[in-house]
Symmetry: D2
Subunit: 327 residues, 4 copies
C-alpha cells in the first residue's frame, strides 16, 4: 500500500460532545507525523458538495472545550446510492484525500464501510455517539457528558420534587440502548428505571412506587429511556396516574439538550486518545477498523463487527443494584 499523504476527517450522524477533541487530535497528530489533514464539513454530504477545508495546527485551537462539532454534521440521502458514493469518492480523489477518519455512530460506520469496500480507501472510524451502544468500546464519545447532563437535570428536578412530594417521570435519550437511563438512574438515585432492553409492567412499577410511599419517601423520580416499550414518559405517567395518586405527578422530556454542552474531562481525553490512535492506525496500514477503549487500553475492532455485533447486553447487575439502592 502506498504511504498516506492526506487524511480526511469528518463527523456524521448525531453530534456528540468530545467530537471536537477528536477532530483536534486527528489534525494535530496527522500534521505532527508529516501528513496533510483536510476537514470535510457536514460529513458525507460535504464529500458530495466538496466542502473540504485544509487544516493546520492552529485551525483546531481552542475547540477542545466546545460542544457539538466544528465540522458540522448532516444526514445525506444521496450517499446511500451508488452514484452518490461514486461522486463522493471522485471528489476525495480530486482533493488528494487518500485516507479517512469518520467520527460517528453505526450509520456513519456503514457509510465508511461502503466507501472502503467499494473504492479501497483506508478508513479508521471513531465511535462518537452519546448512546454508548457500539460493540468494541466500553465507552463511546459523548456518553459520559450526556450522562452528566442528565444527572444535573435530575438534581434540579429532585429539588423541586422533594419540596412538593412529587413523582416525576423523566424521559432521557436512548432508542435502543438504556445505557444513559441506567447510569443516570443509578447516579440520580432514581426510584425506578425503564429501559428498551427489558420490559417493565406498569403494575410492577406501581408496586415499587407504593413501597416507596410506605417507606416515607418524600419524592420519587422514574427515569424512562425514550425506547422503553411502554411508549415514553407521557404514556407511563398516564397509566400510573390511573391507579396511583399518592404523589402529584409531573413529566419532563429532556430532549436535545442532552446532546450539547462542553465535554467532560473523560470525553475530552477519550476523544483525544481515539483521534490520535486512529491516525496512528491509518499510518500503520490498518483499515476498516474502529478504535475503541477496552479497560484502559485503546483497541481496534473490525468495522463490520462494530456495525453488526449487538451482543453486548444490558448490565443486569447494575439494574438489580439500582432497585436495592433506591429502597
Amino acid at each position: 500500500m502506498a504511504s498516506i499523504k492526506k487524511i480526511g476527517v469528518f463527523t456524521s450522524g448525531g453530534d456528540a460532545p468530545g467530537m471536537n477533541a477528536c477532530v483536534r487530535a486527528v489534525v494535530r497528530t496527522g500534521i505532527y507525523l508529516g501528513k496533510q489533514v483536510v476537514g470535510i464539513h457536514q460529513g458525507y454530504q460535504g464529500m458530495i458538495d466538496k466542502k473540504f477545508i485544509n487544516m493546520d495546527a492552529r485551525s483546531v485551537r481552542n475547540i477542545i472545550q466546545l460542544g457539538g462539532t466544528v465540522l458540522k454534521t448532516a444526514r445525506c440521502a444521496e450517499f446511500r446510492t451508488p452514484e452518490g458514493r461514486e461522486k463522493a469518492y471522485k471528489n476525495l480523489v480530486e482533493e488528494g484525500i487518500d485516507a479517512l477518519v469518520p467520527i460517528g455512530g453505526d450509520g456513519t460506520f456503514t457509510g465508511a464501510e461502503f466507501l472502503s469496500r467499494e473504492f479501497g480507501i483506508p478508513v479508521i472510524c471513531v465511535p462518537g455517539t452519546i448512546d454508548n451502544d457500539l460493540y468494541g468500546s466500553d465507552f463511546t464519545l459523548g456518553y459520559d457528558t450526556a450522562t452528566n447532563t442528565v444527572i444535573e437535570a435530575i438534581d434540579k428536578i429532585r429539588d423541586t420534587a422533594a419540596s412538593h412530594d412529587r413523582l416525576f417521570f423523566v424521559e432521557v435519550m436512548g432508542r435502543d440502548s438504556g445505557c444513559i437511563a441506567l447510569h443516570a438512574g443509578v447516579a440520580g438515585g432514581a426510584e425506578a428505571i425503564l429501559l428498551p432492553e427489558k420490559e417493565t409492567a406498569i403494575d410492577d412499577l406501581i408496586v415499587k412506587l407504593e413501597e416507596g410511599a410506605l417507606s416515607k419517601k418524600s419524592s420519587c423520580i422514574v427515569i424512562i429511556a425514550e425506547g422503553d416499550k411502554n411508549g415514553g414518559a407521557y404514556n407511563v405517567a398516564k397509566r400510573v396516574k390511573e391507579k396511583f395518586d399518592f404523589y402529584d405527578i409531573k413529566v419532563t422530556i429532556l430532549g436535545h439538550l442532552q446532546r450539547g454542552g462542553t465535554p467532560s474531562s473523560f470525553d475530552r481525553v477519550l476523544g483525544s486518545r481515539m483521534g490520535y490512535a486512529a491516525v496512528k492506525a491509518l499510518i500503520a496500514g490498518e483499515t476498516r477498523k474502529m478504535v475503541g477503549l477496552k479497560g484502559n487500553m485503546i483497541q481496534l475492532t473490525d468495522l463490520e463487527e462494530a456495525i453488526h455485533n449487538h451482543s453486548f447486553k444490558l448490565e443486569e447487575d447494575l439494574l438489580e443494584m439500582a432497585t436495592i439502592l433506591s429502597i
Copy 2:
C-alpha cells in the same frame, strides 16, 4: 401592639431557588434580635396539620446553597375555607406564633392577607417565585437562577443546533409573564421570542426566520413562554413546519428543571436581604406588606397592591432590542 415573641416562617406555592437563603435569614435574624422562630412545614397545610418545628441558628446551617425549600411547600384547599383558616389560626395561637413571614407568590400572599385581615396576625411577605411577575420588586426570588438554568440549556441546544443547521423551538416557564422568556432569549441570542403579553403572528415569525436563513444563519432558536397565545412550542413548531422547511425542526420543553438548582449569587443575596428585612419590618411594627428590591434598595409595598396591581408592563424596548441583536 404587643411586642412579637415568636415568628413563624413558611414557604408556599411553587418552590423557587433562594427560598432556603431567605428561611436562613429569617431564622438567624429573628434569633439574633431575641425572638423565637418556628418553621412551618408545607405552608398553609402545615398550619392546619400542626407541622411546627422550633428553629435555632444551627437548624439552617449549610442550606443557603440548596435549591428547593427545606420547609417544603404544598397546595392547600382547606385553607381556602373560613373554617380551614380558623383552624390554622387556632394552631398558630396554641403554638405561640404571633407573627408570620410567608415566602411565595400571589397565591401565598392572598392566604396571608386573609389570615392577617381576619385574625390580626402581623405578616410581612417575601416574593419567592421564578416568574418575576410581582408588583413592588424589580426581582423576585428564584428568577435569576431560573433564567441562568434556561440559558445553560439554550447553550447546550445551540451546540447541537449549530452542528446540524437546525431550528429549535424551546418552551420555557411563564404562564402570564414573559420575563424568563425575554431575558433568556436575549441572553441566549435567540432568533425570536414569543410571549404571553404580546401576540406573535406565525407569518411574521416565518418572515423573521426566512431573513435569518438568507443571512446564512446556521441555526435558529425560538424561545416560547408557555403562556404564549399560539398554544405552546409544539403548536408553533407544527404551524411553522407547514410553510418553512429550510431547517430541520426540533422542539424542547424545559419544564420543571427550571425550578430547581443551587441558587445563583444574586438570589442568595436577595433571599438573605429579604428575609432579614422582613423580620426587621415585623419587629418595627409593620404588617400586611411585601418586601421588595427597587433599584438597589429594599422597600415595602402594601400587600394588597402587590397582589392586585398588575400594572408592570413588558419591557418592550428589550424585545425590540432582541430583534435587532439577532439579525
Copy 3:
C-alpha cells in the same frame, strides 16, 4: 456634527465575562442602523498597530456565550504618550473610523477621554470590569459572573471544610473594591468578610471565630478581598493561627479563574443592553459619556465623573447583615 459612518469597538484592560455580548450588540446595532463597524484588536495597542477588522452580522455569531473577549485586550504603554495617541488617531482617520465604543474599566476610560478631548472623536464607553467599582452604574459587566464563580468555589470548599471541621481563608479579587468579597461572602454564607474599605482587627476576627466554635459550627469560611489592609489571605491565616487553633486552617487564592467563564444571563443581558445603548447614544450625537444601569434603566454619565468620582461607598448595611446571618 457630521453623521457617523464607521464605529470602532474595542476591549481594553482586564477582560470580563459579558464583553463578547457587548461587542456583538455594538456590531449588530451599528449595522442595523446603517453604520459600518470595525473591531479593533487588543485595544489601544491595536489602534497603534492597525489591527482593524471589518465586522458584519455573522462576525459575531455564536460569541454571546463565550468568556473573555474575542477582540482581545492588551496594556499599551505607548498610548500613554502624546505621540502614541497621535499615531493611534491617525490610524483611526485613515481607516475611516469616526466614533468609538471602548469597553473596559477606568484605565480604558481615561484613554478614551484623552482621545476624545485631544482629537474630538466621539466616544461612548461601556463599563466592563468584574470589580463593580465604577460610578454611574449599579453593575459593571462581568461582576455578576465573577461573583457566581466565587460562590461555586466557596460551595466546593464548604464541602471539604464541613467534612474536616476546617477553617478556610479564601482570597478573592478586589484591590480597591470589596464588592465581590461582600456579595460572595453573603451568598456563600461566610463567617467573616475582610474588605479594603474597612479595616478589620485580627483580634476581632478571632473573637468572631471563637463564637462560631462555641456555637458548634463545624466549619468556617473567611472571605478576604485581595486589597484588605491585613495583607491578604496568607498573612491573615498566619496571624489567626498564632492565637486560635480550634480548627485546622487552610488558605485558597482563587486568582484569575474569577475572570473567565461563560457569562451569566445577567451579564449577557447587561452587555447587550449597554452595547445597544452605546451605539444609539453615538448616533444621537452624544459623546464623552459612559452607559450605565441605574435601577432597571440605562443611563448616561459624564465620562470624567465616571473616572474621577469615587463617592460610592461600601454597603455597610450588607456587611452588618452578613455578620448577623453567620451566627
Copy 4:
C-alpha cells in the same frame, strides 16, 4: 465465621466526591440484606469517641449528589497507638459492630489492616481519594469529579489567557501521583504538564514554550502537579520568567476546591457499585480486601497489596500524546 449482624461504615483521610454515594450504598445494601448498619462519624477518631449513629434507609436520603462526606472525616493520632486501637475495638464490640467498610486512601487502609489483623474484625475497604493512586482499581472515588473541577477552572483561565496573550502556570493536586495533572492537562489542552513521576528540565519546558510562541499560540497553559520536583508552580514560573518573556506570566494554585463539589455521574455510579460490592463481599465471608474497578468489573484486591504495591506506572503514552496534541 459467625454471620455478620452489624456493619460499621466510615470515611477517613481526605474527603472525596462520591463518598456519600458509597455510604448510601453500604447502608441500603446492608439493610436490604437484613443487616444493621452504623455510621461512624469522623473515622477512627469517632471509633475512639463512640460517635456511632444507627442508620436506616431514610438516613441516607438525598445525599447521593452531595460533595464531601456526611459522616465527616478526621485525622487521628491516638489510633496509631496500640492502646488507641484497643479502645476503638472495645467500643466497636460494645456497639455490636462486627464488620467494617472503611472508605478512604492508603492511610485509611493501613488503619483497617491493623484493626483486622490485631482483632480479627472483617474489613472490606473502598478506595476513596481524588488522587487515583491505588493499586487494584482503574479509578478511585472522586478522581473523575476532581479532574472535571480542574478542567472547568482551566477553561475559565483559558478565556482570560487567550484574551491577554498570557502564560499561566496552574498547580493541581497530586503529591505523588500526576494522574489529575496528566488527564486534566490533556483535557484542558495544556501546552505542558509537569508531574512528580518524571522530572522536567526547565530549559526543555522553555524550548516547548518558545515553539508555541513561534507557531502563533495566543496563550499557553502549563499544568503542574504539586509534587513536581521543580518545587511547585511559583518556583517554575519564577525560573521560566528569567529566560522567557514572550508572554505575560501568571500563576494559579487551585487548592482545596478540587476536593469538593457535587460528584460526577461516574463517581456516583462508582461509589454505588463499590459500596454495594463491599457489603456483598463482607456477607460472602471476605475480609482484608479492597474493592476496585478493573475494566468494567468490580474486583477484590488483597488489602496489603493495595497498600504496598506502587507498581502502577505513569501512562507515558498519554504524556507523549499530550505533547503532540499541543503543537
